[in-house]
Amino acid sequence: MYRGYLNQPLTAAPFKNLQKWGKMNITIKLVGTFRIGRFFETVREYPSGTCVREVVDELRIPDPLLGIVLINDIHAGVEEILNDGDILCLLPLIDGG
């Protein structure tokens, strides 16, 4: 089983109605610390109408760490609905230095 952030098992529970709704393939790219215990890049299947927030929650990325959301290289919000074939990139916050 895929094991996610903090080594906790991830389930597909939020998407159990996948068959009922249409499916779509989303390429997910993770950057920086988000890769730890997860992946660099993968393609996953989601029900039509899935928004970024649901993917973020599924991946157990903590809200305070999520800095940037890109859909097909364009900045987006977490409430944005994904479309089949989208490339979703999730990046941590940057600040200072």
Partner: protein
């Protein structure tokens, strides 16, 4: 500070701060309690020091009339987390207008010196004139109040920042220290000297884990005045945590504000170093003098790659739960920590590695370590060196200095050493002067004479209105990259309203990581002021005070001869647009011209009457 009111915004003169003025020429020392003029004076830091600087007409940084002001903020030394800041202010040797006049600058640093200084009973120390012989200042707590003395410092001459501090520690217990390195001593040829501030970790471990007030050459001004170090000796006077401040501190540690800076093993983002990974996703990590190449070279400095060879420990400033320091150690065969190499923060790391063509973490660590020990601003040094390397790449037939080009570690190391020792004024006086002497100014990455930090100018036209450090005095560096804003209205709003508020941290004594996204105009700060000092201040009053202080800084720049066309970016940005940066282009000449027009339309009417 003495408080005879609980309403400092309405009755600032009922708050007094303790000031010591030291005449380095005569040795005369004067102590006084000074009534505050406004809320900026009460908050402290540059909010106060810039009002003092504004009262003086200064034509060159190295003159008797240019003071060095050392002060703290209202919450320095309080029980509020991160309240450890010390500020050094004066007319800068490095930052100057094209007219040739020095700009007022401040530089801030953590470490324990600021709290100790505050606990001696002193809020501000002003050094006037210049000492004929090297001295250090001893500030100590006595039953009769703070006492300041000047002591001979010949034994400290030629020592590094760390060695000066360790030497003084042998003489003074229960003290903390601020010191310049060899670079500051060579003030005539090095305008980028930094001031090192001691930490508990440093004094206990003997390792050079120092904090710096780096920007603007305040260490060089200190060197000009012949002050090699400051010693603050006092008992610790931290108040017991009140329930209100405890709640704030928990929020600082566990709330959203600092999460990205916490160690990875605590579920945090791993500190400022993490910016490498994020910016690389846009090919916006500075490479070879701010020319990202659209390749994977910057990834060699990703933490995940450095960790394969080196041990990284997350450590913190005293009493701070943010633990943002990433200290890099040699890794022994058994996996334990070996020799301490350097602290990796995004700016020094990038500007002394990827941006000068160095892609080896060990070499980068040695350059950072050397720069820290000599006491130089790693930003100004790194950017001026990258200019030299870029020039030499363009002119292989007649290169500058030792002919170093990108990635030539040994030659770059030689440049760092010789600059610090005062033998390379070409680098020590910064990229503005050097590029003007070569006649090739377009790829000198400074704005208004101060070198840019490690955020590509293509991502931040707000640099033009930063009044001190490029990213730390104008918080627009994430407006395009992080927030995705590329429209004119968002940039005008950001520069003229929301993002200038970042300078509030450099008044009140808190580190920006207290809550960098929201600034100091928050209920958290209001609660701390009420609990610590029984002061009733609203978030609106704080915001207005921070804005006045920022605008005063802007007015002071104009008074020092800056023309509006100097509020711009290095010309290479639009002369050779970089196709590798995967972000919308917001630095075309047309965009910049419109931005300048609209920003000044907001700022200009408000500048009236801010200066004496």
């Amino acid at each position: 500070m003495k408080y005879f009111t609980s309403d400092p915004a309405s009755e600032p003169s009922s708050v007094l701060y303790s000031r010591c003025t030291v005449d380095l020429k005569s040795g005369e020392i004067q102590m006084e309690d000074v009534p505050c003029r406004n809320l900026e004076d009460v908050l402290g830091g540059f909010g106060r020091s810039f009002q003092i600087l504004a009262e003086r007409s200064i034509n060159k940084a190295y003159c008797d009339e240019n003071p060095l002001i050392v002060n703290t903020g209202l919450l320095t030394g309080s029980s509020a987390m991160t309240g450890m800041r010390t500020y050094f202010s004066g007319y800068s040797p490095i930052k100057e207008s094209k007219k040739g006049l020095p700009a007022a600058m401040w530089s801030a640093g953590s470490g324990n010196f600021g709290a100790k200084l505050k606990w001696t009973g002193l809020d501000e120390l002003i050094f006037e004139n210049r000492s004929q012989k090297p001295v250090y200042a001893l500030i100590r707590e006595t039953p009769d109040g703070p006492l300041v003395e000047l002591k001979p410092a010949d034994h400290l001459l030629g020592l590094s920042t760390h060695d000066k501090i360790m030497a003084l520690q042998n003489e003074y217990g229960n003290a903390h220290f601020a010191a310049i390195g060899q670079a500051g001593e060579q003030w005539e040829n090095v305008y980028i000297g930094a001031v090192a501030l001691s930490t508990d970790n440093q004094l206990k471990s003997g390792e050079d884990k120092v904090r710096f007030a780096g920007r603007g050459g305040m260490g060089s001004l200190m060197g000009y005045k012949n002050i090699l170090a400051l010693v603050a000796q006092s008992s610790d006077k931290i108040k017991p945590l009140s329930p209100e401040v405890r709640k704030v501190n928990i929020n600082v540690v566990k709330g959203g504000g600092s999460a990205r800076l916490q160690p990875i093993n605590r579920g945090g983002g791993g500190g400022t170093w993490a910016a490498y990974d994020v910016l690389q996703a846009f090919h916006a990590v500075p490479v070879n003098n701010f020319r990202p190449q659209g390749n994977g070279l910057p990834e060699k400095m990703f933490r995940a790659n450095v960790e394969k060879e080196y041990l990284i420990k997350s450590e913190a400033c005293y009493r701070c739960g943010i633990t943002c320091h990433n200290n890099v150690y040699e890794k022994k065969e058994d996996g334990r920590a070996g020799e301490f190499l350097a602290k990796f923060d995004y700016e020094p790391l990038n500007l002394l590695s990827t941006n000068i063509g160095i892609h080896d973490a060990g070499q980068a660590a040695r350059l950072i370590h050397l720069t820290d020990n000599f006491g130089m601003d790693s930003i100004s040094l790194g950017v001026t060196i990258s200019y030299v390397l870029s020039y030499n790449e363009r002119h292989p037939e007649h290169p500058l200095l030792n002919g170093a080009t990108f990635g030539e570690y040994s030659k770059i190391m030689e440049l760092v050493e010789q600059t610090a020792l005062g033998n390379l004024p070409e680098i020590g006086r910064g990229s503005k002067r050097l590029s003007e002497s070569t006649g090739e100014t377009s790829y000198a990455y400074h704005v208004k004479g101060l070198e840019l930090p490690a955020y590509q100018p293509e991502t931040n036209p707000g640099y033009a209105w930063a009044i001190a450090g490029g990213h730390m005095s104008m918080g627009t560096y994430g407006l395009l990259t992080r927030e995705g804003k590329s429209d004119m209205d968002s940039w005008v709003q950001g520069i003229t309203q929301t993002k200038l508020q970042i300078v509030g941290f450099d008044m009140i004594g808190l580190c920006k990581f207290f809550d960098i996204t929201k600034g100091i105009c928050t209920q958290m700060v209001v609660d701390c002021l009420k609990s610590e000092f029984n002061l009733e201040v609203t978030t609106e009053e704080l915001a207005a005070s921070v804005r006045r202080a920022f605008l005063r800084g802007l007015a002071l720049e104009l008074r020092q001869g800056y023309q509006k066309e100097e509020y711009s970016l290095p010309a290479e940005v639009w002369e050779r647009p970089n196709p590798n940066i995967k972000l919308p282009n917001i630095t075309s000449p047309e965009f910049i011209a419109e931005l300048q027009k609209r920003v000044w339309e907001v700022f200009e009417p408000e500048l009236e009457g801010l200066l004496p």
